[in-house]
C-alpha cells in the first residue's frame, strides 16, 4: 500500500507539474504569439509589464520587462479579476460548460504524452503520466472532443455570430479529423512494423521506432497532411473559420468575456502546444537527438540521453523535446502571420478533395511499401512489447 500511495503521490505531483508546464507553455505561447506577430510586423511587442520587486533588479529586471515576461501574468490576473458577465439571453448551463469543455480535452491528452526518457537499469523508460498502449487513439479521441466546447459555446451564446462560428467549427473539425486520423496510419503501420521490434500504439514506442530515421523524412506527405489537419483542428490561421473576426466579429466566443474567454483562449493555445508535441512525437522523432540511420555504432547519436546518468539524461531529453515542440508552436505563429484566411468553401475543398484522398493513398502506399520491406528484410523476430 505504501508503495501504491507513494506512487499516487508521485503521480499527483507529477501531474501537477505537467499541468503547470503545459499551462505556462500555453500562457507563454500567448506572449510568444504577440511577440512573433510584432516582430513580423516590424514592431516590438509587449514590453511594459513590470513585476514589482523583480523588475527593480538591475540589468535583468528591465531586460525581463522588455521581453514582456510578466505580460501573461498580468493577462491572467486581468482575466481573473474582470467582471464575469453572464448575458441574460444565453443558455446558462452550456454557456458556462463550454469553456471547460474547450480546455479539459487539451489538458487530458497530456496524460498519455511522453515527454522524455529515463533509464531504469538498462531499460529505457518514458517520462509519462500514463503509458497506455493506445496513447495515440486516446489523444485522437480526446483531442476531437475540443470541438464540443466550441459548438456548445457557439450555440449556448444564443446569438448569430457565435452560432455561425460553432456551425463552421463543427463542420471543419469533423472534416479534418478524418484526414488527420488517416495520416497517422502509416506511422502506426511503421511503428508496429516488423523492423521496429516494437508493437502497440504507445507513443513511447513510436518515438523509439524513429531512432533510425525520423518519420517526417520517410513520410513527408502524411506529415504534411497531419500538420495541415492539426492547424484546422486547433482553429489556427489559415483555418480560423470559427473565429474569423472580420466576418463573425469574434466567432463562437463573441459573447464571452473575462475568465470564460480566458479559458477558451488558453484552451486554444494548450491545443496548439499538445498538437505540436504530438507532431514532434509522430514525425520528428520525439526527444531523439538526431537520426542514426539504423547504424548501431551511431546509436549514441539518436539516444545520447541513455548514456548519461538519469539526473542529466532525463531532463535533457525533456528539454530537447520541449524545444522541438516549441519550434512547431513557433511555426503555428509564423504561418498565422504569413497566410491569409481561407474561404470556407476552400477549407472544405482542401479537406475533402485533397487531404482525405491524399491520406488514403498514403495509407495504401505505405502499407504496400512497408509490406514489401518486411518481405525483403524478413526478420523473424517477435515484437517485444514494452510494458
Amino acid at each position: 500500500m505504501d508503495s501504491l500511495l507513494l506512487d499516487i503521490v508521485i503521480k499527483v505531483i507529477f501531474a501537477l507539474l505537467f499541468v503547470a508546464v503545459i499551462m505556462s507553455l500555453a500562457a507563454y505561447s500567448v506572449l510568444g504569439e504577440r511577440k512573433v506577430a510584432s516582430w513580423i510586423q516590424g514592431r516590438v511587442g509587449p514590453n511594459r509589464t513590470a513585476l514589482p520587486g523583480i523588475s527593480a533588479i538591475p540589468v535583468l529586471g528591465p531586460q525581463l520587462v522588455k521581453l514582456g515576461i510578466w505580460q501573461p501574468l498580468a493577462d491572467g490576473v486581468k482575466f481573473l479579476f474582470k467582471e464575469d458577465p453572464l448575458p441574460g439571453h444565453v443558455n446558462k448551463l452550456y454557456y458556462c460548460l463550454a469553456p471547460c469543455i474547450a480546455l479539459v480535452p487539451a489538458l487530458t491528452t497530456m496524460v498519455v504524452l511522453p515527454v522524455g526518457q529515463y533509464m531504469d537499469g538498462d531499460v529505457v523508460k518514458p517520462i509519462i503520466l500514463a503509458n497506455v498502449d493506445i496513447g495515440i487513439l486516446f489523444i485522437l479521441a480526446f483531442g476531437s472532443l475540443g470541438v464540443y466546447g466550441i459548438v456548445i459555446g457557439g450555440w449556448a451564446a444564443n446569438s448569430k455570430y457565435p452560432y455561425f462560428g460553432g456551425i463552421r467549427s463543427s463542420a471543419q473539425m469533423i472534416s479534418y479529423e478524418l484526414a488527420m486520423g488517416m495520416s497517422i496510419l502509416p506511422v502506426l503501420i511503421w511503428a508496429n512494423g516488423p523492423n521496429s521490434g516494437l508493437a502497440g500504439l504507445s507513443l513511447f514506442n513510436i518515438v523509439e521506432s524513429q531512432q533510425g530515421m525520423w518519420l517526417g523524412v520517410w513520410m513527408p506527405i502524411p506529415a504534411f497532411i497531419f500538420l495541415v489537419s492539426l492547424y484546422a483542428e486547433t482553429n489556427r490561421l489559415p483555418f480560423d473559420m470559427p473565429e474569423s473576426e472580420t466576418e463573425l466579429v469574434g466567432g463562437f466566443h463573441t459573447e464571452y468575456g473575462s475568465f470564460k474567454f480566458g479559458l477558451f483562449f488558453v484552451g486554444e493555445y494548450a491545443h496548439m502546444v499538445i498538437g505540436s508535441a504530438v507532431f514532434t512525437i509522430l514525425f520528428l522523432g520525439g526527444w531523439n537527438f538526431l537520426p542514426d540511420f539504423g547504424i548501431e555504432s551511431l546509436h549514441w547519436l539518436s539516444d545520447p540521453w541513455a548514456l548519461m546518468p538519469n539526473w542529466l539524461g532525463g531532463p535533457l531529453s525533456v528539454i530537447y523535446f520541449i524545444g522541438k515542440t516549441l519550434f512547431f508552436v513557433f511555426l503555428f505563429m509564423w504561418v498565422r502571420w504569413t497566410l491569409p484566411r481561407f474561404r470556407y468553401d476552400q477549407v472544405m475543398t482542401l479537406g475533402w478533395k485533397y487531404l482525405v484522398p491524399g491520406a488514403l493513398i498514403c495509407v495504401v502506399a505505405y502499407a504496400i511499401i512497408i509490406g514489401l520491406w518486411d518481405i525483403a528484410f524478413a526478420i523473424d523476430q517477435t515484437p517485444a512489447i514494452v510494458e
Binding site: W39, I40, G42, R43, V44, W334, V335, W337, T338, L339
Partner: protein, 182 residues
C-alpha cells in the same frame, strides 16, 4: 485605349500546390521578423516634430518677455470652427509695455473645437500665435480643455526671433522725447 492582354496561362503542378508561394510567404515574414525594429517607445521617446507641424495653438512672448499678442482678434475672426475667443483690453500706462497699448485681457482657445488648421497662425499680424509641437491634448472636463491665456503662454514660451518692432518704436519715441525731431 490600349488593350493590355493579361497572361492567363494555366498553372503548372507546383503552382497548383501553392507550396512555392506559401514558402515564399514564409520567407518574407521570417525576413521581416529578423529585421531591426524601428518602433518608437512613445511616452519616453518622442518623435522629432517638424517645424511646420500643426499642433496645439499657443501664444508666444518675445525675447524680452512681452506678450506678442495685441488682441487684434483677426484669429478669432478667421477661425473656421470659432474656437478662439478674445477679450481685448488695454495696457496700463504704468506698464513697461504701455507703448503697445493693447493686449488680450483673456485669450481662450477651445481645444475641443480647434481643428488645427493653422489659419490663426497664418493671419496673425504680430506673429503671436503659433501651432507648436504639442499634439496630445487631454483633460477630465470640457472646461479644462478651454485653454486660457496663462496656459497658452505657458505652452507657447518665447519665440526667439529678432522682431523688435515695438521695441524699435519705443526707442524712437524715447529718442524724440529726449531730443525732438528737428
Amino acid at each position: 485605349m490600349a488593350v493590355k492582354v493579361v497572361d492567363r496561362s494555366p498553372l503548372n503542378f507546383w503552382e497548383k500546390t501553392y507550396m512555392p508561394q506559401v514558402l515564399g510567404g514564409l520567407k518574407i515574414t521570417l525576413d521581416n521578423m529578423l529585421r531591426p525594429k524601428v518602433t518608437l517607445q512613445y511616452p519616453e521617446e518622442r518623435p522629432t516634430i517638424p517645424d511646420n507641424y500643426r499642433g496645439v495653438p499657443t501664444l508666444v512672448r518675445d525675447p524680452n518677455g512681452r506678450e506678442k499678442c495685441v488682441s487684434c482678434q483677426l484669429c478669432e475672426f478667421v477661425c473656421p470652427p470659432k474656437a478662439i475667443r478674445i477679450t481685448p483690453g488695454d495696457i496700463d500706462d504704468s506698464d513697461e509695455n504701455a507703448h503697445v497699448e493693447k493686449r488680450p485681457k483673456d485669450f481662450e482657445i477651445n481645444m475641443l473645437r480647434c481643428i488645427y488648421c493653422g489659419m490663426c497662425q497664418e493671419v496673425c499680424p504680430e506673429e503671436a500665435i503659433f501651432l507648436q509641437d504639442i499634439y496630445s491634448v487631454s483633460g477630465y472636463s470640457r472646461e479644462e480643455l478651454v485653454y486660457h491665456k496663462a496656459k497658452l503662454y505657458e505652452l507657447g514660451g518665447t519665440l526667439p526671433d529678432q522682431h523688435y518692432k515695438w521695441d524699435r518704436k519705443k526707442e524712437a519715441e524715447e529718442k524724440v522725447a529726449a531730443g525732438g525731431h528737428h
